[in-house]
């Protein structure tokens, strides 16, 4: 009799781990990725619930306590109108997330659909779509956004005013949506090409794999093959790039707001807060430090998470 423990059942159960759970195990081992994940989770929580939990309204001014240094009452101090900087940073998180998530979702949808069509159906779709992609990428981001803002902002605002005068519907008075729509639109417009290229490359390599021929031999339609065979297999790299893309979109939103072509005051955005803080940083450094530090933290967290996901989802490529 041998003493070797033989338990085929246990071995089988251990093997029954899905691809995603496998990736999760690898992600958990990566300390930086876990740090990134935690920070992203906190930021996401802040973006959703933060504005309800802050002690002050982000707009309420207290002219008695202008430019106060950080204290227990005002964690990050107050700005030149006596508004609580902590509450504004918290609301800025919501702005940043809102813009980042919506822009990334739009960009990924456009990119995935166009990239998948280009890769799966080949020419002439491929040529036209890649031509569009190259064209979009050839225009400098900043220039494109400035042009869109300059050319569309005032007509839309005028149209909204006209609508308000005609209908007296209060909806048309909220110019904040014009900002957001322009920001979403212009940023999505410049963000989709990398996703389209990535998905196209993935689809091109997946299309020639035997299981696609096998699926065709089963008589499945192109649509089902695309939906159930091609796209799920292309998802790994796409998730990695979405994670990195969210961080980039946040930084981009801040950059545009910093330049005054993104989200405009009084809606707080890290970018316009940094821009305000920059004017007085020699006297009140906390006004610059608070939003800048949070922006930096968010950007770093997303890229750590993206890196970790990359290693977790492509175990062969990591080492």
């Amino acid at each position: 009799m041998s003493a070797i423990p033989l338990s085929p059942v246990a071995a089988q159960e251990e093997a029954a781990v899905s691809l995603w759970r496998d990736a999760w195990h690898r992600l958990k081992r990566n300390k930086l990725a876990v740090f990134g994940l935690i920070v992203v989770a906190i930021l996401a929580f802040t973006a959703i619930f933060g504005p309800y939990l802050t002690p002050y309204d982000y707009l309420s001014q207290n002219l008695q306590a202008r430019n106060a240094v950080p204290s227990l009452q005002h964690l990050f101090g107050t700005d030149d109108l006596g508004r609580d900087v902590f509450s504004r940073v918290v609301f800025g998180t919501r702005t940043a997330f809102l813009v980042a998530v919506i822009v990334t979702v739009i960009a990924v949808l456009i990119g995935t659909i166009l990239g998948a069509i280009a890769g799966f159906f080949g020419n002439p779709f491929d040529r036209v779509i890649m031509w569009l992609t190259d064209m979009t990428m050839s225009v400098p981001n900043l220039l494109l956004v400035v042009v869109i803002n300059a050319s569309l902002k005032s007509p839309i605002t005028k149209w909204m005013e006209a609508q308000y005068l005609a209908t007296l519907d209060p909806f048309y008075r909220q110019t904040i949506w014009v900002d957001f729509i322009l920001v979403f639109g212009s940023m999505a417009l410049i963000s989709w090409p990398p996703y389209a290229r990535l998905v196209r490359a993935q689809v091109l390599s997946i299309r020639s794999r035997p299981y696609i021929t096998a699926a065709q031999a089963l008589g499945l339609s192109n649509w089902i093959i695309m939906k159930r065979y091609v796209i799920p297999n292309a998802l790994g790299p796409l998730i990695v790039s979405v994670s990195a893309g969210l961080g980039t979109a946040m930084v981009l939103e801040s950059a545009f707001s910093f330049l005054g072509i993104g989200v405009n005051p009084p809606t707080p955005s890290w970018g316009n807060m940094i821009s305000d803080g920059l004017r007085v940083w020699q006297h009140y450094p906390h006004l610059l430090a608070a939003p800048a530090a949070v922006l930096g933290l968010a950007s770093v967290a997303f890229s750590f998470l993206g890196d970790g996901l990359n290693d977790a989802l492509n175990p062969r490529g990591s080492k």
């Binding site: 781990v17 691809l19 299981y211 021929t213 031999a217 008589g219 499945l220």
Partner: protein, 335 residues
């Protein structure tokens, strides 16, 4: 051997020609192939790598990659011309009436889909089954192909199964809709010898149970000896010999078939004797010789072999044994 066999043709391929669009113009890879499979019959398609076996089968189902095209010929299945069907009709045949088992079980299953879902796919698509019905049938199929614990296995991903198990899953998918014809494209090449034998036995067993026709593509003449009814030997995209399996082993007539059979090691060989092999390599597509494609490698080649292409003709005295060789045909007439 098989009681359901008849002389009615299920698959009839005539003069099928496939060309690759290369840099130096089109190159013929399958040159006017004639093949047929009777109902309930198992046909072995044998030949070296690159002789067009797989391309022929893929072209039947119009599954060829972009640059490869069927330029001539027809392929009718159950009375319908597969080459002339609309895509929609063709999709009904694929997976429904004709099941496919691919060469490499490691890469022919979708890695991100549970195998249960993959088996259910053709059932839902072709038979209009509900998910729950399809699952019942999937368990049945997994049991049929000899996978232990089929209920739990439905939840497994392909990477959790061994190569042999995956090939069984592939066969289960191929069989899902009770096809009239199962095309197995070198289904055992990626497997080790003991598993190969299991898979061959499994298909033999299933064929008897389900009464379908099978086309088994292989380069291994020895493997299929006990499995198939008839063998078509392919060389450089043409059928060079076509005979019932016993007849082929007893009286191989084409020099290429003889060479193939001679290169199978036998237990009766003297120890340490050299394996016999056929000298040279098959012609590259686009550089086919003018006459018989095998002539440059053929030990019996005569002047006429380099000039004209021989036709597949019945040997005298055996109506169902056909061969494409001038020399053999001449010897037959002389005898």
């Amino acid at each position: 051997m098989n009681t359901t066999r008849s002389n009615e043709k299920l698959l009839d391929v005539r003069g099928l020609t496939v060309e690759i669009d290369g840099r130096n113009g089109p190159a013929v890879v399958v040159d006017g192939i004639d093949l047929h499979v009777n109902k309930g019959e198992t046909l072995g398609v044998v030949g070296e790598s690159g002789c067009g076996k797989s391309l022929t089968m893929l072209s039947l189902m119009r599954l060829l990659p972009n640059k490869i095209k069927v330029t001539k010929g027809s392929a009718s299945f159950d009375g319908q011309d597969l080459q002339k069907m609309s895509n929609k009709e063709l999709r009904k045949v694929r997976g429904g009436d004709i099941g496919f088992v691919f060469q490499d079980p490691m890469t022919s299953l979708n890695p991100v889909m549970r195998i249960g879902d993959q088996i259910c796919e053709p059932l839902i698509y072709h038979r209009g089954m509900k998910k729950a019905e399809a699952r019942v049938r999937a368990v049945e199929l997994l049991r049929l192909v000899g996978i232990p614990g089929p209920e739990e296995r439905l939840q497994a991903y392909p990477h959790e199964l061994s190569g042999g198990m995956r090939q069984r899953v592939m066969i289960a998918i191929g069989l899902a809709c009770n096809p009239k014809l199962l095309i197995a494209d070198e289904p055992t090449t990626a497997l080790d010898v003991t598993i190969q034998a299991q898979i061959v036995d499994l298909v033999k067993d299933l064929r008897a149970k389900l009464g379908m026709s099978v086309v088994w593509i292989t380069h291994d003449l020895a493997l299929i000896a006990g499995l198939v009814d008839r063998v078509a030997v392919l060389y450089a995209g043409t059928v060079v010999e076509d005979a019932p399996v016993d007849e082929l082993y007893a009286r191989p007539s084409h020099p290429y078939t003889r060479g193939l059979l001679a290169s199978i090691p036998k237990l009766s060989d003297a120890p340490a004797s050299r394996l016999s092999s056929i000298g040279g390599t098959p012609p590259e597509p686009g550089r086919r010789p003018k006459g018989c494609p095998f002539a440059p490698r053929c030990p019996l080649a005569e002047a006429v072999c380099h000039e004209r292409v021989p036709k597949l003709e019945p040997l005298s005295g055996a109506g169902n044994h056909r061969t494409a060789c001038f020399v053999v045909q001449k010897m037959q007439e002389a005898a």
